[in-house]
Amino acid sequence: MHRFASPARFLRLAGAVQPWLAGGTLVLMALGLYLALFDSPPDYQQGESVRIMYIHVPAAWMALFVYACIAVASASLLVWRHPLAGLFAKASAPIGAGFTFLALVTGSLWGKPMWGTWWVWDARLTSVLILFFLYLGLIALTNAFESPERGQRASAVLALVGSVNLPIIKFSVDWWNTLHQPASITRMGTPAIDPSMLWPLFSMAIAFTLYYFWVVIVRVRGELIEARLRALTRLQTEGR
């Protein structure tokens, strides 16, 4: 991990990896969407509405995964002061917020025909809404300070405090009774999903993951270039 923390090395590596991530995202997204929309069966109870699941479930997974990445980066920023960790967390927050929003909206669209309501205040839905607000809070806090370093450190503290929400979201459907159904894939024993529906789901999940790494690399590169530009401008004005 520490070897990649030098910005120069990161820039070199990112340049090499980025086209592969972009290509992988596009191919798997196209494949996943084709399988999900055309080449998978309707559900025995939900009918065609089951296809919402192929967006909703990967988006919800990513909402948790991106937050976990931010929490790890925040810890490494606070403890080891890695210069890249703060930028990585800053670049990740809007992507995570986007995934969370997507999960909330698609879940709502599925909930109306299936459950009979757009929204209920059960433990799962409420904790995911809190996650969305945490993401917005991270974005706002990072940009609330004059110096970028202080902003990143403040939002790292918030990110770590908010990480207690992750196990709550994951286990909310087991600890309390909720309207939301329990996990289908990560439950004990075999998944409760038919194999014909697993392939489009996994394909979309991998596509979403590659998309995240692709966009986060683009954003961190942008941040690094911006930081360098700031440093150069400062030198120039001081030199005058």
């Binding site: 069966p41 309707p42 559900d43 025995y44 109870q45 939900q46 009918g47 089951v50 699941m53 810890a75 606070l78 403890v79 080891w80 025909p113 299936m114 459950w115 009979g116 309501t117 209920v120 205040w121 059960d122 433990a123 770590l160 405090v161 990480s163 207690v164 709550i168 087991d174 600890w175 309390w176 009774n177 909720t178 309207l179 159904q181 329990p182 996990a183 289908s184 439950r187 409760a192 999903i193 038919d194 014909s196 529906m197």
Partner: protein, 160 residues
């Protein structure tokens, strides 16, 4: 002790105490975090008729009576207790006998439950219609359904 090490230990201690505090708060509010009560819990509590509550369970096979108009009567069970429910309104697509539902409403003095909202609960199983049909024919279906029902009952009893 280096500064990095000290920061790491402070961080771990902070996370530990934060986690403990959260766990304590959540277990203290356990009763308020459940979305619905089971018919058994409702019977035990003996709520007054002006309280709006949600009960969850399975729709009893053969209990659904439709009409007149959009009026529906059915029973909700957790395999121990049964609550008769009356409802006037639109039912969700997934509503059917043997299916999990959550109904919101008030207990009536005559022991029935007048619902103002009926929500269908979806389980974690996804499969194409042909597979469901094959399972039903091979007799695997009942076993699976029984399992799900037992699991639902178990979960409700542990949340008390």
């Amino acid at each position: 002790m280096t500064r990095k090490r000290r920061r790491l230990i402070i961080l771990l201690l902070a996370m530990l105490s934060l986690g403990t505090a959260t766990a304590l708060v959540l277990s203290a509010f356990n009763d308020n975090l459940v979305f619905f009560y089971s018919p058994s819990q409702l019977m035990k509590a003996g709520l007054p008729s002006d309280r709006l509550v949600r009960i969850g369970g399975l729709v009893v096979d053969g209990s659904v009576q439709k009409g007149p108009g959009s009026r529906v009567a059915f029973s909700v069970t957790d395999t121990n207790e049964k609550v008769p429910v009356v409802y006037d309104g639109i039912l969700p697509d997934l509503f059917r006998e043997g299916q999990g539902v959550v109904v919101q409403g008030r207990m009536q003095p005559d022991g029935s439950f007048k619902a103002v909202e009926v929500l269908a609960k979806h389980d974690e199983k996804y499969m194409p219609p042909e597979v469901a049909e094959a399972l039903k024919q091979s007799g695997e279906w009942r076993r699976q359904g029984g399992e799900a029902g037992a699991a639902a009952g178990q979960k409700e009893s542990t949340t008390q």
